[in-house]
């Protein structure tokens, strides 16, 4: 571990990447309400992007860089803070800043005139800083700090419009669910630290890292002196996966993501593309050597199930952002499957391609919503600007937005010539190859993925056709003519950039074969499964055939308006529309019993604990009263009685001392008489 003496270019650049958003954060924090322009934030993220390109050029396929300074020491355990730059973090740095920059630029238009815009830039900078820090952290501890900061910044951004009660509920939900995941992460860290006594990522998960070197004989998991039952290996992996499940919105923790749509659309695009949800996948890939077969199977199963479930929900949603949210959950499920089958490079590949087209989809949706909002305000309409039932025919009014959306939608559906095709096919093909080596049941995973990808094609086609084809459905309501406008240039240029990144040339010169992609080649493929050639031709054909059929059905239904009658009342429709009733289930199955349990505890507390305490206090008070009484009427009485007695005696005695001379004389005479009398009695013979 060399000390921070000679800074090489990539290290310096990485520091710039990390600290530019932080500086911007502090600028906004210091300037407060005065600073409404987004220029510092945009400048910061642009600097980050430039610097991360530098880092990327140095690091990609080169030596990995690990620089560390000692941070603090507890007893004999030294803790370092530093950065670990390898292919994984380099591509993530580039991705985060490359997604964040267009989103920042887009936000200048989208958020124009918002009264809280200074807070918006503040939070956005913090968000980027947290994510970049998480990505380049070299120890689990630093990663955890970044992880928490990402969660916190997303909490702030989801609740950005904090006057809306739905936004507050949504950010609370997101935060609470993420706390569950954080707990998992923490447990994982604790297990790792107990076993290896270090947080260092490279030492733990590197080429010859401790995790790989640790012996696992099926009974005991041993490293050096230290060993523990092998179940802890699975527990650690499962705990880390729990963290990733919450962060990357996997079933059953996905419910926060659709609600998080209450935040500004630009934030949603950032959360969904590069920052928040990517963190979970990234973390799993970062610590991938840890997972044993059980955990991998768990990850794969959860991922496949989530993908399918979210896709079925997305089929029927009416809110444009909700559709995209469930689509994100579904795509994250794909990434989880890729991790579950051990293809970490593919997971990252899909993460990257997905980031671009999902960000683009959100920005397009934002442009549409912006326009609908505009119409709503201009004409005083009582409509929900996000409801796709009000849209339609926007192709004519917003041609550029339409074209860009189309590109992103094709990428999401996984049609050839797009980046999405490459990564999705990679996952599907690997999943089928993987299932060759598993028992027959595990075939379900690739098959469900195949179904999911068909559903994906359908729901995204439905969205595109409902929004951009047909006639503007607002028009039917009254005779007035509405004229939505094309989004402004400040929004279109970032979208154009993302649109270009959603196409194949960025990733591979060959539009049809993912294996030629430089990104895949940048990651070591785990002991390559035997290439089953048949899959490499059949699966893309199947995927695309299904997708095209689905898109055609969607076109017939939604663009031509030939709905099959009655299909919207069915139980299946309701099941999907209500998001599998999961929220309802959580509400009545978890929240209510929990509340009931809390109430019961409260009652117990009131009756038993408080009662006991009150009894004890009552007893103490009684005792106090008694001693008070005793003090007053016995101790004091004695003292006072003495005083009073003395006083009375004194009073009695001084009764004759009234200044009456004649009394004095009388008493003197009396005394004289007594003395005489006594004297006579005593001394008389």
């Amino acid at each position: 571990m060399e000390q921070l003496g000679q800074l090489s270019t990539p290290i310096l650049a990485a520091l710039v990447v990390l600290f530019a958003p932080l500086v911007s954060f502090f600028i906004y924090a210091a300037a407060g309400k005065q600073l409404r322009t987004g220029i510092p934030a945009i400048a910061a993220i642009a600097i980050s992007l430039t610097a991360s390109i530098v880092v990327f050029c140095h690091v990609w396929n080169g030596e990995q860089i690990h620089q560390q300074i000692s941070w603090f020491q507890i007893g004999e355990h030294a803790f370092g803070a530093g950065m670990l730059l390898n292919n994984l973090s380099a591509i993530m740095l580039l991705l985060v800043s490359a997604i964040a920059l267009p989103v920042h630029i887009y936000s200048t238009i989208y958020m124009k005139g918002d009264s809280g815009i200074h807070r918006y830039w503040l939070y956005l900078s913090l968000f980027c800083f947290a994510m970049l820090g998480l990505v380049m952290a070299d120890s689990l501890l630093l990663m955890y700090i970044g992880w928490e900061l990402v969660g916190f910044a997303s909490y702030l951004l989801i609740g950005f419009w904090f006057t809306k009660s739905a936004a507050i509920k949504a950010n609370k939900k997101a935060f609470l669910i993420n706390r569950i995941g954080d707990l998992g992460f923490l447990v994982g860290i604790a297990v790792i630290y107990t076993q290896f006594q270090t947080f260092d990522l490279l030492a733990l998960f590197g080429e010859h890292g401790m995790v790989r070197e640790a012996l696992n004989d099926g009974i005991e998991w041993r490293y050096g002196e230290h060993g523990m039952p092998v179940i802890w290996l699975s527990i650690a992996g499962g705990a880390f996966f729990l963290g990733a499940m919450a962060k990357s919105a996997q079933f059953p923790f996905h419910i926060w993501l659709p609600d998080a749509m209450e935040g500004p659309t630009s934030v949603s695009s950032l959360i969904h593309a590069a920052t928040m949800v990517a963190a979970g996948v990234f973390m799993l890939v970062r610590i991938s050597p840890l997972f044993d077969d059980h955990v991998l199977l768990l990850i794969g199963t959860i991922g496949a199930f989530t993908a399918l479930m979210a896709a079925t929900i997305a089929l029927t949603q009416q809110d444009i952002k909700k559709i995209l949210a469930f689509s994100t959950i579904s795509q994250l499920g794909f990434m989880m499957v890729a991790i579950g089958i051990g293809q970490y490079g593919v997971a990252i590949f899909h993460l990257v391609t997905h980031a671009f087209f999902k960000c683009l989809l959100f920005l397009s949706a934002g442009a549409v919503i912006h326009e609908m909002q505009h119409l709503k305000e201009k004409n005083n309409l009582a409509i929900d600007p996000q409801d796709i039932r009000n849209m339609g025919g926007l192709r004519k009014y917003m041609p550029h937005t339409f074209r860009l959306t189309l590109v992103a939608a094709l990428a999401l559906a996984g049609l050839p010539l797009t980046a999405g095709y490459l990564s999705k096919d990679a996952i599907l093909i690997f999943a089928f190859e993987w299932s060759e080596w598993q028992s027959a049941w595990w075939k379900l995973i690739p098959i469900s993925l195949l179904i999911t990808s068909a559903l994906t094609a359908f729901y995204i086609a439905r969205l595109v056709f409902k929004v951009f084809y047909g006639k503007l459905r607002l028009q039917r309501n009254d005779s007035q003519k509405y004229h939505p406008h094309e989004a402004s240039r400040g929004m279109l240029i970032p979208m154009l950039f993302l649109g270009l990144c959603s196409l194949f040339p960025l990733f591979s010169y060959n539009p049809l074969i993912f294996e030629d992609s430089w990104l895949i080649k940048g990651f070591e493929l785990p002991e390559t499964l035997e290439r089953v050639n048949i899959y490499h031709t059949v699966i893309p054909a199947a995927v695309n055939g299904l997708a095209i059929v689905m898109i055609f059905i969607a076109w017939k239904w939604y663009a031509k308006g030939k709905y099959p009658q009655g299909s919207f009342q069915g139980a299946l429709y309701q099941f999907s529309f209500h998001q599998w009733y999961l929220n309802l289930f959580y509400e009545s199955g978890l929240v209510k019993p929990l509340l009931g349990f809390s109430k019961m505890l409260y009652a117990i507390d009131r009756v038993v604990v408080d009662g006991l305490v009150e009894k004890v206090t009552g007893l103490a008070r009684l005792f106090a009263y008694a001693s008070h009484w005793f003090d007053r009427s016995v101790v004091d009485a004695v003292v006072n009685g003495m005083g009073k007695t003395a006083f009375v005696i004194g009073g009695l005695m001084r009764g004759s001392r009234k200044g009456k001379i004649q009394y004095y004389i009388f008493s003197m005479f009396l005394v004289l008489l007594i003395v005489l009398f006594v004297g006579l009695k005593v001394f008389s013979p």
């Binding site: 001392r657 009456k660 001379i661």
Partner: protein
């Protein structure tokens, strides 16, 4: 025959009357009169016992001195009463109680 006892009885009566006046009267002058009576009771005792001292007549002589001294004392006492009256506008001994605690 008038014996010593009769003298002593008269003297005692005289002394008692004087004592009563001193103790009971609400007038300083009368108190003074009482004192005089008591002095006279004492003087009577002196004279009565003096009969048995035929040689020196000490009792009688002492009585003479006592009468003179009593007169002088009365003069002083009257002067005091006069001053008391000036100060208190009263000669009731009950009103003159400034020495009480």
């Amino acid at each position: 025959m008038i014996s010593l006892t009769h003298f002593l009885i008269v003297s005692a009566l005289l002394f008692s009357i004087g004592l009563y006046a001193v103790l009971a009267k609400k007038n300083a002058i009368l108190v003074l009169v009482g004192i005089e009576l008591m002095i006279n009771a004492a003087v009577l005792n002196l004279v009565a016992f003096g009969r048995y001292d035929g040689a020196l007549y000490g009792g009688q002589t002492f009585a003479l001195f006592a009468i003179v001294l009593a007169a002088a004392a009365v003069a002083v006492a009257l002067a005091i009463i006069l001053n008391v009256y000036k100060h208190y506008k009263s000669i009731n001994p009950d009103d003159i109680n400034n020495l009480k605690d």
